[in-house]
Assembly symmetry: C4
Homo-oligomer: 212 residues x 4
């Protein structure tokens, strides 16, 4: 395996331990990817069916834009198509997908409005390009679907319709976010998870999301 | 002690630390087992009265189908009979029992219906053989009982009546799940614990379990 | 410092890290002790004003029944008197005091009844001498008091009036439990904390403590 | 870089890991500082845009009272001005700022009263100079503001009007506390976070903060 892929695998393994410690990738849920090169597109991605808290660097796979495995052994995540959509539509270099409790709960309760607006929190400034807590972030919610070709098309459409969104939720499933670097994508996971828990606990206390 | 048993003890100790970190085996609660051989049946099992987060590999015991200790010193868990029922009825090679907060709470609140139905969550796909979030998982709830012979019979009957269930709860006590491998059983613990917390928090927010 | 005291300090430091990881001794709250000898009584006890998650073995003090420091430098915990009452009244060899969120909340809400009854949970079997979930544990609640001589007398009286109790709460303050060994006392902390959270979350969901 | 600054960076990195483990500085939120010298004032402070759980000692910056970087490379936290106000107004030698869930929620719900009174909890004794749970702590709440010059003036005014307060909250943003030493400031973070969660959960259970 090329040294570059091993290095990326090492970084994905570290991220896996961090997110696993927070119970955001329980079971073998979640998947992570990072762009290896753009022309032609190559993605380093976590394999299917592996605990993200116990990833070995050499379990990382390299795939192309047609989901073919270029390097490494194993099956890429079934949701690899969604990663490809995101890196193409957003120019992102890293994509992280988690299955947290709060993204599961809120993606369900706000599904009828097809999204969740969050505004007024300082933590919003952790999202790339946001410089004030007065920013309003719209987090689209998509119906879950086992048909990845169909879901990819919905993701593509959603990213087009909401060009400023930093993340989206799949209903009763989990959260996708991305970044220009892996570090930025990790930061986005933490920011969005924090905000979802804040909104969720606020609603539970009888409040409503601020101006959402 | 045979090297094989030590190796299994090592793996059970690692699992113990992981589940203990999540507060699913506080005190000396919980017990874990793995099939050493089938003919005749031999089980490696954690001893009674030990903190599962501080297991030593050599504390692991080997027992036979009559609960006799074949290797190791100490008393096998009082619930060893339930482990034997499960490995026999399900052909499982590993059984994990935890005492989490959410299994304790939900096993009580749903006791009158003798079980809890969970449907519509992506995390269900972490259960062996489940390929869609539309799967409906029925988690039977059994009354707790200190008479292990009597409880074993109830477990056996429950496993027969619910052949597709991946786990069951003992009321105000905890959760049992299993797998064809230890890794699968650990995955099932994490998936079921996640789903129980999701359902429990959803109910608390005024919702009801989806189509349950 | 005598090697025996250092060894006890080492064990108290390990316990401190474990309880600190669970947020049961935040700030410099909590204190731990273990009996060094009975005739005359000598207690190894944690010093005042130290984070229990960052204890050094040599910070441990040895005190006598009059609170005089026999070995080590520093001030013993202001609550050392309560430890002495407990080891005398109960014949306990170890005493642990924690400041958890749930003990703080429940000690307040149940204060008017001067205690909290817990019954019907399997986890009760983690308390020394309890062999069935049908056991009813009464956890007395005492008003908090900065006058240690006066509070000691109340503790002594409480222990006499409730000879079967394994723990007590100080109102809006925290929990005391003990054991015949340090390991038993740690187990009691985990069991009581688990039960308090279970009761607290159950009440919050609209239920009432079972037959309490 | 001077050895003294590296040592301070080392201590800030340790504190960062501790607070990050508790999810109080998710993303790249939070910032920490410690006084290097008083005449003229020099502050060691964490840089902007870095995860506080992954700080390297050499990322620490030294700034003067005009926010100029004296040692180290990088941009000081945008909120460095607030740190300078606090060390000047309070004579504090260390300032810690966190973004926790409960400070975010309570700073919002109690904003109309411009603060939150907490009384009757033993944990209050972890605040410097407090010797009884009967102490009443007033935690001022300030409107969040991206204009640091303006916010600094509000902080200065708040510290003057509430000379006994050990901390303040920025609305939907987070918490500031300080201490005569770094250890004291860390203790204050833990005490205030504990108290905020206790008050928040109590309110959620239908109670009201005691005499607040």
């Amino acid at each position: 395996m090329a040294e570059e892929l091993l290095e990326m695998g090492q970084r994905l393994a570290e991220i896996g331990r961090r997110l696993d410690d927070r119970n955001w990738v329980l079971g073998t849920s979640g998947n992570f990817s990072v762009v290896v090169q753009r022309q032609p597109l190559r993605l380093a991605i976590t394999p299917s069916g592996v605990s993200k808290g116990a990833l070995s660097p050499n379990q990382c796979l390299e795939i192309d834009a047609d989901l073919a495995v270029i390097q490494g052994t194993g099956k890429p995540s079934a949701e690899a198509r969604l990663h490809l959509e995101i890196v193409t539509a957003r120019g992102a270099n890293a994509v992280l997908h988690t299955h947290s409790l709060w993204s599961t709960l809120l993606s369900d309760e706000h599904a009828s409005r097809e999204g969740l607006g969050i505004e007024g929190y300082e933590m919003l400034k952790g999202l790339a390009g946001v410089s004030s807590h007065q920013h309003r972030e719209w987090i689209p919610i998509l119906e879950n679907d086992q048909d990845m070709a169909r879901l990819s098309a919905v993701v593509r459409d959603t990213l087009t319709r909401h060009p400023a969104s930093h993340a989206f939720l799949l209903r009763r499933h989990g959260m996708y976010t991305w970044g220009s670097t892996l570090a930025e994508a990790v930061r986005h996971v933490e920011i969005v998870e924090f905000l979802l828990e804040a909104v969720g606990r606020r609603e539970q206390r009888g409040g409503v999301p601020w101006r959402s």
